[in-house]
Amino acid sequence: MIRPEIVVYMDNNATTKVAPEVLEVMMPYLQDYYGNPSSMHRFGGQVEAAVTEARRKVATLLGADPEEIVFTSCGTESDSTAIFSALQSFPDKRHIVTTRVEHPAVKNLCENLDTLTGHKHRVTRLMVDADGTLDLQKYEEALADDTAIVSVMWANNETGVIFPIAEMARMARARGIPFHTDAVQAVGKIPINLKELDVDFLSLSGHKLHGPKGVGVLYVRRGTPFVPFLVGGHQEKGRRGGTENVASIVGLGRACELAAANMAEENSRVKALRDKLEQGLLSSIPHAILNGHKIDRLPNTSNISFEYVEGEAILLHMDQYNICASSGSACTSGSLEPSHVLRAMGVPFTAAHGSIRYSLSIYNTEEEIDFVLEKMPPIIAGLRQMSPFWKADA
């Protein structure tokens, strides 16, 4: 086993460390307080109270009402629930508006809807610009009378680029179209206040904000037509059957509380660390290119392409120093093509194959940034020396 204390973890958009404060509040519900929240005895009732308290904390972070919070098993379940719900609520509407850079949870669902539902659907997948941003005029033109739902991510997992969700939700509302946003990467990193927004569905995932894996949330605005995805018991007011993952829900509640408390640090200290890392890499390594909009971006994410070398090879060399990150290269995507996000942005294949995503958290330190800045240039230089496309004088 690789011991956690020796790891330089810069892969927080993949998953995060469970905060010690989160684990602490979870433990009683994994040990002594095992009652079922639905039970009619006080032993179960006290567990229900803990779930209610967690629901309130999640709602507070989002600026929502507790009753608008539905606990699910993960971000993917939340996404599927929202999209299927809209399609079933409006059976005559067979059009969906989404983007080319969505997480697979939305992208692959939209691509396979015909097979999944037995109906023909029209899916408009909005293009992005070279910096990963959307053209709002094209978005407005895409909205149609038969649009059942808009599903657009709040922030991109690979580049960190933030979409103008407030404006997009307002435009959908003006046309009477339900608006869903996959906010898995945004929640906890940037302020969100759903009271001021026209968002109808929002997905989040516990393990992206220092909560446990295996718990997610779907926010459903009060009054939004809703059809459950998992049908069963009356849990979550009949909106999601299945006994509650109590310990994780309690943990997620605490994680949301911590996220609110740490939001300022995330946007100041973490952002400064990210900027130092980014500027350091771009200035010390030639032919390194930043992917994504420089400003409209999560404070923790930096996606950089190192031309003429391949991402998996870079990652495995970084792994020798216990530095954890991700790549958009083909060899790491499980397919033979590089990241669909970078391709949609028109990043040349030559650069997409060598892209590395660094995603930080409040647990990163300046020493770690210095360590990575020291190790990266020789790794890239070593691989370039081996690359048939690298000309030393280029």
């Binding site: 060899c331 499980g334 020396q385």
Partner: protein, 278 residues
């Protein structure tokens, strides 16, 4: 995370023969930046037609770099005619195997070698003559057919693992299926493939190695108060542990290579490499 053998990791982290030979006798340039992997292989022959030196430059993942590195190691010292017979399976076996999704890295190694030899002989690359089936990765039908035959592929997914064909937009998948069906049904050719020295499963290898150890090797060692035990079989790598008098014998390494390895190559598979467990 891919499960790479120790051999793959060694060759990736400490690649052998990186570079480009000046005034080479043969140059093989395959793959492209767009495809995500590319290999430039150069070699020089001595006066007897033996590969005296070989170097590589590779753009690609760990298994692409390891396949290139091990390939140069394999062909240095080989007569050109013999090098021409090296297959992608030989490369993969020499690495102790590759994840199935990464077999195309060994295929790229073989193709670079083939291209370099064709370049030396002033010939065209035979596989490039075919009709391009997969436009995303520029794979020809001849390449697909050869992979199906040589590696006994039985699904489109396997074709993609070995040649990358079909791994991009997916438009050629129906065509790949047609080629697969047609090739598999050409009984005669398939028969030929089956007659070639067969690919043994690891279990078959272990059984045969155990048999050979018991019948042919152990009795000899025991006469001198030694013994041998099989520890592991990983691709072509056979790890053994020497026991008894062998452990303190100064000649144990010679015994291992000159006696045990020779015997196992003769009795089981001529590509086996015997190593001592440490």
């Amino acid at each position: 995370m891919w499960e790479y053998t120790n051999k793959v990791q060694q060759h990736f982290l400490h690649p052998k023969n990186v570079g480009e030979i000046e005034n080479p006798d043969g140059i093989g340039d395959v793959g492209s930046l767009a495809c995500g992997d590319a290999l430039k292989l150069t070699f020089k022959l001595d006066e007897k037609g033996v590969i005296a030196d070989a170097k590589f430059k590779t753009f690609g993942c760990a298994s692409a770099i390891a396949s290139s590195s091990v390939l140069t190691e394999m062909i240095i010292g080989m007569p050109l005619d013999e090098a021409a017979k090296v297959t992608n399976e030989d490369i993969a076996n020499r690495l102790g195997g590759l994840p199935k999704e990464k077999m195309h890295c060994s295929v790229m190694g073989r193709e670079a070698l083939e291209a370099a030899i064709a370049n030396y002989r002033g010939l065209k690359i035979p596989m490039a003559e075919g009709e391009v089936v997969c436009e995303c990765f520029g794979v020809t039908d001849l390449e697909v057919i050869r992979a199906i035959k040589e590696s006994s592929l039985r699904s489109v997914e396997e074709i993609t693992n070995f040649t990358k064909a079909g791994g991009g937009c997916g438009k050629c998948i129906d065509r790949l299926r047609e080629i697969l069906v047609a090739t598999v049904h050409q009984g005669a050719d398939i028969q030929k493939v089956a007659e070639k020295p067969k690919r043994m499963t690891t279990l078959q290898k272990i059984k045969k190695i155990e048999e050979a150890l018991e019948r042919e090797i152990r009795p000899g060692l025991r006469k001198d108060g030694g013994d041998i035990e099989l520890v592991d079989v990983d691709g072509d790598f056979v790890t053994v542990s020497l026991r008894g008098a062998c452990t303190s014998c100064a000649k144990s390494q010679t015994t291992l290579k000159e006696y045990v390895e020779k015997k196992l190559r003769e009795l089981v598979l001529d590509s086996l490499i015997v190593e001592e467990s440490k």
